[in-house]
Amino acid sequence: MATVITLKKQPYSFVGPVSAAAGGFAGLFVGTAQGSGLLGIILGATLMAGLAYGLMTLDLPRKTVRLGIAAVFAAVGFLLSGPMGLIIGALFGAFFGWFPAWLADGKYRASLPPYLTAREVLWHYTFRIICGLIFFFLIAPIVVVMPLSFNAENFFTFTPEMLRLDPDGYSLKHYQDFFQSNDWQAALRNSLTIAPVATLLSVSFGTLAAIGLSQPHVPFRQVIMAILISPMIVPLIISAAGMYFFYSRIGLQGTYLGVVLAHAALGIPFVIITVTATLVGFDRSLTRAAANMGANPVTTFFRVQMPLILPGVISGGLFAFITSFDEVVVVLFVGSASQKTLPWQMFIGLREQISPTILAVATILVCLSIALLTTLELLRRRSERLRGMSPG
């Protein structure tokens, strides 16, 4: 970034339309919420065009103007929809006070290479907006659930009290319900007993299978691999129905063991895939060296191979755990009511009685998943660092 970039002032013929477009886009959402999307677009666009014009002709100190605009937007938001509107208005105002100035001063080119053409700059920002939108649409449904789980009422509704940010509109009673209700606690216990055992089985079998299948002299490797991976590819409902009839015949249907085995079968492909991937980077001469020094294959595995492929094993195990912990279709078939897991309890709760307790549980599970995935990512980085350090 040693290049000195001269920032050019941009003409209104550029700043005006772009600001108007952004204003129209924001107006679409505000307008839809207030009753008319079209009116929102028009108002937003004109407002922003005017704002940009004002900013460019009157040479006021930028900071003051930004604060002023944020305050005005916040006030309008408050009038339209109370305290929640105030916050949203302030955020909108802060953005739209900054946006035209950012355009007009040419700052949008500041962090880009100077040789980019206008079209490339446009694509640079369009790409970011598209990514942002994808991210938004993926995350928004999950985020919406979280405040709803603190609802004081027994419905999936943002009550007027909640929107006013009135403390009376919020409560922890659904969390309390989760921790005190026998049904939910039994489901939690079931999930917490089934998932770890299933994970343990998947990890042991999956790792062994991956190591075996990575030996070049094993016959029909591709075919065996395909069969082992198939639970991941075959539609779940088909595996579930098959398991149901098979387990019924051999007396495993409706037992803990049955559910654990079924979940282990679902988890094994994840372990095989991640462990196989780490084995690609594993240097076989290390096992030969160990053998040369008199270690038997078991010692070699635990002392040499296992520590090196451990990140793959752990991330496979995490996937297997999440698979078992989130699984509802197979357990509905293979389990009986005394093996009701959390997802099962959520499924019936959602169908028979829409209670925000489900949202409370969902929030807890989302936090748990985030924690697990963070662990996964940290492990991945550690493995990369280790690999970078290992010679060759």
């Binding site: 009422e153 027994n154 419905f155 999936f156 509704t157 149901y244 009839f245 019924s248 015949r249 249907q253 409706g254 009986s336 009511a337 005394s338 009701k340 019936i348 709760g349 959602l350 169908r351 028979e352 009685q353 829409i354």
Partner: protein
């Protein structure tokens, strides 16, 4: 000598009175029901007192009544019946009975006499609509409306559902022809006692669908009992059909601005079936439980927790107050004379014969 005879006689009496002794009964029982407030009313009124009397018994509840027919078929096919007692609506009981998946029973043998001494068969009367069906409650499907969205003239009759001018806004209707077709014909001017004659003809079915067409764009279709209460609480719909117990909970328990429309409520029955193929121990336990759970007092007890009418005549006078709210439950019963001025009874025979045809027609109308 005399004492021994008396003792023997009393033991004999005890033995004949209790259907089976504790030794040859299974101590685990899986009961299938609907979940939610309904299941919890059954737990409080039936299974909790039963377990108190028989602490060795563990009861597991499975909330699978919605797919009971399909699951029982699968269990039967796999030769592995894991349910002991299943709560189903009468129409499902009839189907299960016809397919041989539910056990036929003799009311006077299996069920307790009424508290007033009437035989079980007479006490349940016509409500035993199938040889396998053990009735529990009478419920109704009826409409609720948002009191704050209907202006100064709240609806008083069911045809308000079809009146988009007086009551604009969305309506929630169940995603199946049953009930909707009847209401549509009734509001299209068909006399109540001719509804099923008309509905049996292709023209009649078209007439009902044409009537439903007038509001189709404003209908949100529901499939689970919890949907309409949620939609009403959200203000998403101005009125919607659901089970009367759900509406009771929305209005009285949750204190939402919702009113109840009893006009043309459709009565239906819900009760137990015992799956075919239980082992002797399991069957003995289930019979013992059913004997207890369907007696006059127990059926009346259930109405302390939910506003469904007990299926026994002799239970009606015992309906008391809500266990938590302390309000009289009688006025909230669908069978209360005030509420039951204009009603319809689910026509099991008609729907058994016509369900498949009309279902197909309804579904294809739905996607048009």
């Amino acid at each position: 000598m005399k004492i021994t005879t008396a003792l023997l006689a009393s033991t004999a009496l005890v033995v004949t009175l209790s259907p089976a002794t504790a030794q040859d009964m299974s101590n685990e029982m899986t009961i299938v029901s609907w979940g939610g407030a309904y299941q919890s009313s059954q737990q409080k009124a039936y299974s909790e007192p039963y377990v108190e009397m028989h602490p060795e018994v563990t009861v597991t509840w499975d909330e699978s009544s919605n797919e009971a027919v399909a699951k029982l078929r699968a269990m039967n096919e796999a030769g592995n019946i894991t349910w002991d007692l299943v709560d189903v609506v009468a129409a499902d009981a009839i189907r299960l009975c016809d397919e041989g998946l539910a056990m036929e029973y003799d009311p006077d043998d299996l069920l307790a006499e009424g508290a007033d001494g009437t035989s079980a068969e007479d006490d349940f009367g016509d409500l035993i609509v199938s040889d396998c069906f053990i009735p529990q409650i009478v419920y109704s499907t009826t409409f609720g409306y948002r009191t704050d969205m209907v202006g100064d003239t709240p609806p008083t009759e069911v045809c308000a559902v079809f009146d988009l001018e007086a009551y604009p806004g969305k309506r929630a209707l169940e995603k199946r022809p049953i009930n909707n077709m009847e209401w549509a014909l009734y509001c299209d001017g068909v006399a109540k006692d001719e509804i099923y004659d008309v509905l049996a003809t292709a023209e009649g079915q078209d007439q009902a669908l044409a009537k439903l067409d007038t509001i189709k764009d404003d209908v949100i279709w529901w499939s689970a009992g919890a949907d309409t209460p949620q939609l009403l609480a959200d203000g998403e719909v101005v009125m919607g059909s659901t089970y009367n117990g759900r509406l009771f909970s929305v209005i009285v328990d949750q204190e939402q601005p919702v009113g109840m429309l009893w006009d043309m409520q459709v009565f239906d029955l819900d009760g137990w079936i015992i799956p075919e193929g239980l082992s002797d121990e399991e069957l003995a336990r289930v019979k013992d439980f059913v004997f207890f759970a369907t007696d006059t007092q127990r059926l009346a007890d259930q109405s302390q927790y939910i506003s469904y009418g007990p299926a026994r005549l002799s239970s009606a006078p015992l309906v008391g107050q809500h266990a938590d709210l302390g309000i009289d439950m009688a006025p909230h019963m669908p069978t209360d004379p005030e509420n039951a001025k204009n009603t319809l009874l689910y026509n099991y025979e008609f729907w058994a014969d016509y369900r498949d045809d009309i279902d197909a027609k309804f579904q294809s109308w739905l996607v048009q």
